[in-house]
Amino acid sequence: MKNADRQRQLKNLRRFALTLAGTVLIAWLLLLVVKNESVCFLVVLLLLTLNVPYFTSRCWQLGTAFFCALFTWLLCRVVLLSSSSLNTISLLVLLGSTCGIAWITGLMTQRIQDQKNRTMAQCSRTEMLNRINNRLLTERGMSALHTLLLSCVYEVCSRPSVLFETKGEEMQLSCKLPQGLLTYPSEHQAASEAFKGACPTGVGTGLCQYTAFRYFPLITHEKVFAVLGVMFDTEKPVDQELIKTLEQIAVRAAVTIERQRLADEQQQIMMETEAERIRSNFLRAISHDLRTPLTGIIGACSALNGREVQLSETARQDLIRDISEEASWLLRMVENLLSVTRVGRDAPKLKKSLEPVEEVVAEALDKSRKRFPNIVFHVNLPEEFLMVPMDPTLIVQVLTNLIENAAKYSGNNSVIDLLVADHRDAVAFSVRDHGKGLSKSDLSTLFTPSAAKNGDSGHGLGLGLSICRSVIRVHGGEITGENCQDGGAVFTFVLPKEETDEK
């Protein structure tokens, strides 16, 4: 700043010296040629008029005019050596007129300069607003947009700011900058006044006195989407230029936020359509799966009821056993489906509790032993006591589903390994069979809900596994299935030890 000032002064000085030298030189030449001081004065006046506007300050302008006039007059006296016409009056007239001209031209240039400065400021403001607008337009996601808006406000005026968002008829604080900014309840009230009245409130508006912020409603189509609050110093007069700039920013922000809202809604609709599609696929798959055992049950019942079919006692027993088996399969299926509704998108948040791993595994084993009495289970648990946050019934169900799959793949008289491993921040549960393993096509579509993918008339496994995956994902874990090197398939799921949000 100081350097620039000195430079400007030097420039003025140079110009002053040049003007003075030029004036004296030209006046001297004119006097030699024309020998008339009036012509000389006029030319000097003209020269000054042309030169004076280039001085940056009033002082320099007047000074230059004064000294030029003085020197010209002295020159005239020296050159013409006649004191008759070059008396004190002529000096005064000359001084007066030059200074007057310098004053007037100075004023005019000042005005022009001001105009120019204003225009430039306006230009840079428009440019800045455009830049902000571009940044707002390129940002994706509502919360990112809000944060960006506040950081833009900070760049413009280096003031803390808050953004209130409208949720239905309610206002709620969406974000603030800096993060740790404390806001009083009165701020909330002032913001909701701005929302209700759709007009600025807070500092400088006369509305809602007890606030340190000025609130700008973000309005599009006569609807307030959000309220932007910028902190102002209540002691000082409000900077109207800044208010204007902020209002401009508010207008642009309102447009972008509305655009984002529309985009979000669009996205939502698309997601719902997709969910609807998945749901109908799922229903188709289930219906197919449910129909098979039901057909069997109804057939067996009609055979048992019918008088024309003569059944031996063993055949009757077989039919009854089949009915009971199919019915209990149906029941497990329905329970799986119920689990899906408990972990689905619209389900209430899963209530997890800390459960000892050993109790959960023991429960799953107890159920599985009853179903598959001929299978030998090898269990390997870590020595130390482990607790994992989970919904125990759902995890038991996942384990029994995996064991059921393993039993199906490896036959009824085989060995199934159950392995629990303690990782640093998670616990891994593995169920391993020693059967023929998974085929390539199975591996690629293990967890997708297509019930009858095997094409066999038996019960599909896709649904069970897809439910397992939903359950594990809701727990913030992951489930994988692969083939072991020495034969057999192994399914592993990992549960985090710390509470995590749903994925």
Binding site: E335, P356, L381
Partner: protein
């Protein structure tokens, strides 16, 4: 001939009521049925059944409310019937004084065993014996001594109190919360069952031959623990 015990079946689904009626009548119980909570309230006070089989999902009143109202004036044993996944309801039913619960769907032998156990326990009241034993496990309440295969087991003070609490009411499910408040006092933070679970793990390490198949203290997953009942009593 011995008097038939009366069982009140409170169930709103006709098909299930019919099945229960058939099974229970065939097993020598006298069955009365109610399809609504209001009907159940009326029958309980007019007929005084020996046991109530209460479905929690009723059309008019919440089953828990029926239970609360009953417990205001009577200790008639109540066996709660509820679907899987309704752990919270089961817990609150147990805490409001239900004697036991059974999860739908159940097999007939399972139901009959539970009914017999509840009736027998109720006839006897809280075990006042000095000793309780099941399988190889035995607890002597006066000596404060637990043995497995006649080998004394060393338990800590808290561990012994948990075992005693469960053994005093064999066959009854005690919820985590009720165990915690009885062992650690009513002001213990029952949200955190960690302390109970750790103790239970230690108890099992000391008592059970195979941790993965506990024989004496059984887990009711998501609800609580239950002490196994003796074979003789099950007859």
């Amino acid at each position: 001939m011995k008097n038939k015990e009366t069982i009140l079946v409170v169930e709103d689904e006709g098909y299930i009521t019919r099945v229960l009626n058939t099974v229970l009548s065939a097993s020598g119980y006298k069955v009365i049925t109610a399809a609504t909570g209001a009907g159940a309230n009326a029958l309980m006070s007019s007929r005084l059944p020996d046991l109530v089989l209460l479905d929690l999902g009723l059309p008019d009143i919440d089953g828990i409310e029926v239970l609360k109202k009953l417990r205001e004036w009577s200790g008639i044993p109540v066996l709660v019937v509820s679907a899987r996944g309704m752990e919270k309801d089961k817990i609150s039913a147990l805490d409001y004084g239900a004697d036991d619960y059974i999860t739908k769907p159940f097999s007939a032998p399972e139901l009959l065993a539970r009914i017999r156990a509840v009736l027998r326990r109720n006839g006897k009241g809280k075990s006042a014996d000095d000793v309780y034993s099941v399988g190889a496990f035995a607890i002597d309440f006066t000596k404060r001594q637990v043995t497995v295969d006649e080998e004394p087991i060393h338990l800590t003070q808290v561990e012994y109190r948990i075992v005693e609490l469960l053994a005093r009411q064999p066959g009854c499910v005690l919820t985590y919360d009720s165990i915690i408040s009885q062992i650690w006092g009513p002001y213990a933070i029952s949200d955190n069952t960690m302390i109970l679970r750790v103790n239970m793990s230690n108890i099992r390490h000391k008592l059970e031959k195979n941790n993965m198949a506990p024989q004496y203290i059984l887990t009711e997953i998501g609800i609580g623990y239950r002490m196994a009942e003796t074979e003789e009593e099950r007859q």
